[in-house]
């Protein structure tokens, strides 16, 4: 397969996943903002969203230091100046898809192109008619549609693996960022751990990750930040947990090395990462500091992405 094609597929996976995360982030912010006692810390929850989305400098430059809901909504949903906004993600995913139109099934292209066309229509609607929860649901639906057509129609060949590596790398990274939002919101009020607001925030996070009910199934009804952190970081059964995502990245890389008959740096790194994650205990993670742990994960994940690019996507191996 052409290296550029693999690269395009990899980025389609990443952008589609990222769009979904932006919707989930916005949902977290929206729900948290409805809590009476937040927003009083030196960082409000809207600002934490922009930080977690990794796009604070651009936001501040455009909208100023104070993060208002409307501005954050614009920034994360509509704004083309923000390369990670839902708008930018869907446009980039489609652009990547258009470049490899023939490597996609009709259903997958329909999902990419359909999302783009509908988004154009949404953009033309007055903002008062575009409620945030509805937009978030719509975005998640597009992601599901795309994933469904990928799983249901695409040949499970190297292209499928490259797209999946992109998706899971991005998803792991994104879960880490979402967890980090929680950290930022909590920062000024550590004394409230275990209080009503704290619990509400944790459950909001679960809801945003569509993991509320599965958490119950797994851990019973008692909420506790440690359990939730365990669930989202170390529980391989949770489809958005860091371990699960790395495991999937590892599996798809493994399939590629089997198909091509050789492996590269990426394979070594993912094994190391998996080893570390698999051996980690939630108590050590919390002791190390959740924020520091997540930051390290995000950096390692980025390095893995670079290894994949070096190994396959530049075509000079």
């Amino acid at each position: 397969m052409l290296s550029r094609t693999a690269e395009n597929l990899f980025w389609i996976g990443r952008y589609m996943e990222r769009a979904e995360t932006m919707a989930r982030l916005l949902e977290v912010g929206y729900r948290m903002a409805m809590m009476p006692s937040t927003g009083t810390g030196y960082r409000n929850e809207w600002e934490s969203l922009v930080i977690a989305a990794g796009s604070q400098p651009g936001f501040v430059e455009k909208y100023g230091k104070v993060a208002r809901q409307r501005d954050v909504e614009s920034w994360l949903f509509y704004d083309r100046d923000n390369g990670s906004s839902i708008m930018s993600c869907f446009e980039s995913a489609r652009q990547n898809g258009r470049a490899v139109r023939t490597a996609l099934t009709t259903e997958m292209w329909d999902a990419l192109n359909g999302a783009y066309l509908e988004l154009k229509a949404i953009e033309r609607r007055p903002r008062s008619q575009a409620q945030l929860p509805e937009l978030c649901d719509w975005t998640k639906r597009q992601g599901a549609l795309f994933r469904g057509s990928l799983e249901g129609t695409h040949l499970q060949n190297d292209g499928y693996d490259f797209l999946s590596v992109g998706s899971y790398l991005e998803r792991g990274d994104n879960t880490a960022r979402l967890l980090d939002v929680k950290y930022y919101v909590l920062l000024p009020t550590t004394d409230m751990v275990g209080g009503g607001v704290d619990t509400y925030q944790w459950t909001t996070l679960l809801r945003a990750l569509s993991a509320f009910r599965s958490f119950h199934w797994t851990y019973g009804s008692e909420y506790n930040p440690r359990k939730i952190a365990h669930f989202l970081i170390l529980n391989i059964a949770c489809p958005r947990s860091l371990l699960h995502c790395q495991d999937r990245v590892g599996r798809h890389l493994e399939r590629l090395s089997k198909a091509y008959g050789h492996s590269n740096k990426a394979h070594a790194r993912v094994q190391t990462l998996l080893g570390e994650l698999g051996a980690a205990e939630i108590d050590t993670v919390v002791e190390e500091g959740l924020h520091e742990f997540l930051e390290r994960f995000i950096n390692q994940s980025a390095a893995l992405g670079q290894d994949v690019a070096d190994g396959y996507l530049f075509g000079v191996n």
């Binding site: 052409l2 258009r98 359909g114 075509g315 000079v316």
Partner: protein, 469 residues
Amino acid sequence: MATFNEMYDGETVRPAYEALNRWVNSTPPELLAQKKEEAEALFRRIGITFAVYGEGGDTERLIPFDMMPRVFTEAEWRKLERGVKQRARALNAFLYDVYHRGEIIRAGIIPADLVYHNEAYEPAVVGIDPPRNVYSHIVGIDLVRTGPGDFFVLEDNCRTPSGVSYMLENREIMMRMFPDLFKSMRIAPVDDYPNRLRRTLASVAPMKCDGTPVSVLLSPGSFNSAYYEHSFLADQMGIEIVEGQDLFVQGDFVYMRTTEGPQKVDVIYRRIDDSFLDPLCFRPDSMLGVPGLMNVYRSGGVAIASAPGAGVADDKAVYIYVPEMIRFYLGEEPVLNNVQTYKCGEPEDRKYVLENLKDLVVKEVHGSGGYGMLVGPRSTKEEIEAYAERIKADPSDFIAQPTLALSTCPTFVDEGIAPRHVDLRPYCLVGQEVHLCPGGLTRVAMTEGSLVVNSSQGGGVKDTWVLAD
């Protein structure tokens, strides 16, 4: 000027359209309107759009698709086929000649200046023998019709004629929407075109290629207006669509970058202009090409279709001499006529053109796609005067032709079915054999009375049917 209506001869329906006419008469107008909407939704969904240069905003526009097909009888088509193939052979013979001994110039038939000082002439390929001596592998001949047996060639496209994806998709959509029509009429299929194109490309693999030739389609990328067509064709042929950055030269060959390492490429079906092919040979600022490609081409390591330099044969000034080429190289009389053409570079012609601008169509010699042309009868006095100044400033850049009474075909418009002017571009493949696909792209001017059928100027497209006897 009387206009030839391809469907009606006065009150009578011509034989080609009899079956179609029965079908239209028996189908309720509401159903037709509904089908029209379906067709548009299908096109949008599949993603067949066409970017229009020089406009902001929505750069991906849909070409209007007209559901009324254009129909040729087998006899009508046989003549066209003979004419187009003859022309494609002559044009290729001409290209070989001008990059070798230049016999036609020595014989005094074509002025040396016109060829050797032509912008499209590539001194870099002089003396190179492309495989099978073919330069133009896909020849698109633009034709208009003015009477039952009267076809005129408007221009030749020897480089990378576009639009063939519309021919294929139009047919696909028509078959999906009107299966009954296809069952009751015997319409020659066009869907083996991609397969034949693939075979044509493989048949011109270079000498150095041992084993099954690997062909690729070289595209400028997804921002190009014809990108849909590039990816469609590559897909249908089952070959990779590559951009310049995907290819590189190493030693005597061209390779593409793949996830499994470099893979040798034997035939490049390029959809980029000569000047962008190789920054080391042509434009040094080209980001689209492959450095060193021409060296490999010269030494027979790779074939390029169309061959670099093929453009000199479809120049609008060279066009005038094509009938002479046919006589010179093939010893035959041309089956298809040229349109009377005035060269503004020649004083007498220029005088006539400037005095008769209101009756003429004037084109830039190197222009394409209907950009920058003047349609005298449809232009205001001011437009004509402004254009006259352009001609005077650089006369040899322009040619002029009388406005032809382009034939009309029934077309769906807001008011119902009405005649609209059409032209035709059939596609001829030249490799081991010469083949004309039985069909083509019929373009239609959607505005009443308009003669400009270019898609960049709001023209639409129709499916083109050749009936089997």
